[in-house]
């Protein structure tokens, strides 16, 4: 079946920030590129995100973070993913991410970072390269 080959992505807005235009347009772009996209909605706790990711059996989580809190959020989420044995899921991050923080995020275990301004094409290319099928 065609649907089984679709890459499943959870676009998630962790924490209290409500600026969701970026998350929504990336969700629409990935959907148009043939992904199965689940959008978390706003104000999600990390527990909720992990639960949704597990339930929906996603391949990739795409976090959208604008508030500047990307380092503590990613650190915590990665620890929780390890704890719960979700090692297969790749974590990606987009939003207001200063360049100097990208190596730090990668070191933590973030698979790809797509700072604001990254084109849809580069996001889908980046996501595809994370998943070997």
């Amino acid at each position: 079946m065609e649907t089984t080959n679709k890459i499943r992505v959870l676009i998630a807005k962790p924490g209290l920030d409500g600026h969701d235009k970026g998350a929504k347009i990336v969700a629409l772009a990935l959907r148009d590129a043939g992904y199965e996209v689940i959008y978390s909605g706003l104000h999600q706790t990390l527990d909720q995100i992990i639960q949704t990711a597990g339930q929906e059996a996603v391949d990739v989580i795409g976090l959208s973070i604008m508030s500047g809190a990307h380092l503590p959020i990613c650190e915590k989420l990665i620890a929780m993913m390890k704890e719960q044995g979700l090692n297969e899921i790749r974590l990606t991050v987009g939003g207001v991410i200063p360049f100097q923080d990208i190596p730090k995020l990668k070191e933590m275990g973030v698979a790809a970072v797509f700072p604001g301004g990254t084109s849809f094409e580069e996001i889908t290319k980046g996501m595809n390269s994370l998943i070997e099928r």
Binding site: K13, G15, L16, D17, G18, H19, D20, K21, K24, I25, A27, L28, A29, R31, Y39, G41, L42, H43, T45, S67, G68, A69, P72, I73, V96, P98, F99, Q100, P115, G116, G117, T118, S119, F120, E121, E122
Partner: protein, 548 residues
Amino acid sequence: MGVAKYIKDERGAIKEVVYQSGIKIKPAYGPEDLEKAGFTYDKDLGSPGEYPFTRSLHPQSYRSRAWTTRQYTGFGTPEETNERFKLMIANGQNGLNVAFDLPTQMGYDSDHPLAEGEVGRVGMAIDSLKDFETAFAGIPLDKIGSGLTINAVATIMMAMYQATAEKFGYKKEQISTTPQNDILKEMIGRGAWIFPVEHGVRLVGDSIEYAVKELPKSNPVSLCGYHIRESGATPAQEIAYAFEIAKAYIDNVVQRGIKPEDFVGRFSFNFNVYGNLWEQIAKFRAARKLWAKMLKNEYGVTEKKKLFLRGLFGGGGSGLTKEQPENNIMRGAYYALGAALSGAQTTALCSFDEAYTIPTPRSALLSLRTLEMLMDEVGLRDTVDPLAGSYFIETLTLEMEEKILEEMKKVQELGGMVQCISSGLIQRKVSSQAYEYEKGLQSGEYKKVGLTPGKTDNEAEQTDAGAVELHEYNEEWAKKSKANLKELRRARNDKEVTDSLKALEKAARGDENVMPYLVKCCHAYATVGEMAGVFRDTFGEWNEPEFY
């Protein structure tokens, strides 16, 4: 090119121009265009300061007074914010525009698990009256007005502001505060909502009613087309949706037996300035006119000053680019020019580095200087509404008026704004428009100078980013807030807190106005999290509708 659609012939000459609001632009305009539209001076413009105020709210406009500049400030602890407030007042600023951190905006205390990593980050952290007492210490609250950028818990912050003033020995009649308090726009864009739609609107109604009766110098609502535009609305929709939201609030207050004449004069607006220059100018002129006409014809408002569309035209965030950030300094200047040509009463400008960081004092000062140059150097104060009478601008203003009315009618036909937001219809519409616009930018259909379609040049971008100095987050802020909170919970009178919260709950469950009860809670040092917690228990939380 730009944010409008440009169709060109094979030699690169422009064949067709269509603005975002859907208006086609002709190569040239003449008297026949105004004649065709039935334009007359008295009906469509009026003299400056005269109904329908298309030209200006005041006869002398910037001649009598330059625009007010209100850059958005607040970070860290109340102590730090207080220092920054005092500095700005010492530099001649006569109004404050207060930023709150996300936990405060969402009604959580600094020690709540969801507040982790966010305390003091995007604004100041407020847990209780103690923090407001610190933040506003030494500020003459009878002379300085404060804009409070808060929505879901705006009632709590208004009460907090009053309680602080009373603590300092002022009377509530002397203070002037403008909470943003536009919950419906939060549900379309910006996302700092908590309670379901009908309860959100009720709280806005409570604050308006209370301001009418008890806070004669305060302005309880600032309607923000701004964030709706940022979320993907066209300029015509920005105005139309803000007006339809205003009508939802007006209806709520009218149901309480209060006449529109008694409160609409206290509304203010916040609109965006990015996009095509002419389209923005026509938008503001048409908006002033339509608002006055609507209040007069639909709500029977007669007093001249109550027909004014007062507000801030500024910002422009979505027009700025991450690439080559210094280009944003020039972009901001052109956006500000549009605001000045439109007769903006109050303004503020996004700083060039906002795609990277919270503006530093250096970049915020650049924005302020840009605004000052327009007024003090290049002549924007010379004469009122300098573009009036232009065949193009007047035709465009009339066309924009029509487009705004069309968009308002669509909302009305779908059951009004409360219905359109509850069903998620408006959110889906603006998101899909934002997506289409972004695709247009990436394909090169819309041009942004310095941006190569479909390509991110990481190396160049890293060099560009070198122009930006990052605002540092200080972990100590959270520690300090938490320690203060712990001490507060120990020192305050528990019975007073419990009793005041119980009384608040009773009012919230019934249909009594919650404001006086909130003021009592604040005086008892109940925390923001406790007061919002009462509302959370009573009203529940909003379930966001699916967005596609």
